[in-house]
């Protein structure tokens, strides 16, 4: 079992990763590099995967929370401002 300090460090890494990826997604959408639809495809695949984990009982509680977090990110991306002329 990891120590509490190690555990917290892993949580911090996980949190930082999600924040960084979401931040990158927003930059990519705002600059028109990727369309929202392309990001939704990626997010929906991730959400589906985590929901499947819940159904299969694999880290079910954590997977449910992760699916919720990803859904929140998808909704947030939907409200992002696109570069003029970029695909939505």
């Amino acid at each position: 079992m990891p120590s509490e300090a190690e555990h917290n460090l892993h949580l911090a890494y996980a949190e930082a990763s999600v924040v960084l990826i979401e931040s990158l997604m927003l930059v990519l959408v705002e600059r028109g590099v990727l369309s929202k639809d392309q990001l939704f495809d990626a997010l929906e695949a991730a959400i589906e995967t985590k929901k499947r984990f819940v159904e299969d009982g694999i880290h079910a509680e954590l997977s449910g929370l992760a699916a919720g977090t990803l859904t929140r990110i998808a909704n947030s991306i939907a409200a992002a401002r696109c570069r003029k002329g970029a695909h939505t």
Partner: protein
């Protein structure tokens, strides 16, 4: 102090009954004031609740938390608002009511209020009015969540707060600065976006000179730009009432 939108779009013949009803409610609730600390869960979702409240000072929010820990702020209550009026009619509230700042609130037992509601049409009008006003705000918010960008939602929210705080007498109508005790995460919970996204929108507002939100305070830099950003999401009342735009020059 009337509701925080001062009876938006009311029929003129209802003005006097609404003001009388408001005064009668003030008298009924007099002496019930209580201080409540920020972070207090005043009403817990899905529990029985006996009271109807009026916000004297401070901020509160109705919110719902999903089983996977996602939160949505549904309504924000400001000084002058009656809230939890539904206690008169339903045994359970489906949502939490959380104090966002230290607050002074008044309360009345649902049975006492309902007795008077049945006998006094002024009080009944005032209570029903609060439900109508909440519906107006909720309709606006549904449009914002369904159609608005993150920037439009934040701009509309700031204009809503400014207008209601001005109408309730909490700030001068021309104020360019007001306290807003929501954290960045809570702003996200209200706007339906993540904290990361809130941060980007706040930065954009700051860089464009529209507004700065920091340390629980909103400093509006350019009210006209703020209005332009929010315009499509504002309803007729918000577009035409000076307190929602008095800062614009």
């Amino acid at each position: 102090m009337p509701d925080s939108a001062r009876f938006a779009l009311h029929r003129s013949e209802l003005r006097e009954p609404l003001i009388r009803g408001d005064r009668k409610l003030l008298e009924l609730m007099e002496g019930s004031e209580m201080q409540v600390a920020a972070g207090t869960l005043l009403i817990e979702a899905n529990t029985e609740h006996q009271f109807v409240y009026r916000m004297v000072s401070g901020w509160a929010a109705r919110s719902r938390t999903l089983a996977d820990a996602r939160d949505q702020f549904i309504l924000v209550f400001l000084p002058g608002d009656l809230f939890a009026v539904k206690s008169m009619f339903v045994t359970r509230h489906p949502d939490d009511v959380l104090l966002l700042s230290d607050a002074v609130i008044q309360k009345i037992h649902h049975r006492e209020l309902h007795d008077i509601y049945e006998k006094d049409s002024d009080v009944a009008n005032r209570c029903i009015w609060q439900v109508i006003e909440e519906e107006r705000r909720l309709h606006n918010w549904v449009v914002g969540l369904g159609l608005g960008s993150a920037e439009e939602r934040l701009a509309a929210l700031l204009i809503d707060f400014h207008g209601r705080l001005a109408l309730s007498g909490s700030i001068p109508a021309a104020a360019m600065k007001f306290e807003m005790p929501l954290t960045q995460a809570q702003i996200g919970d209200h706007l339906g976006i993540t904290s990361v996204h809130v941060n980007r929108v706040l930065r954009a507002f700051r860089e464009e000179g529209i507004a700065i939100i920091r340390d629980g305070q909103v400093q509006i830099g350019d009210f006209e730009k703020l209005q332009r950003a929010a315009y499509l999401l504002l309803d007729h009342y918000e577009r035409t009432t000076p307190e929602y735009s008095a800062g614009a020059r």
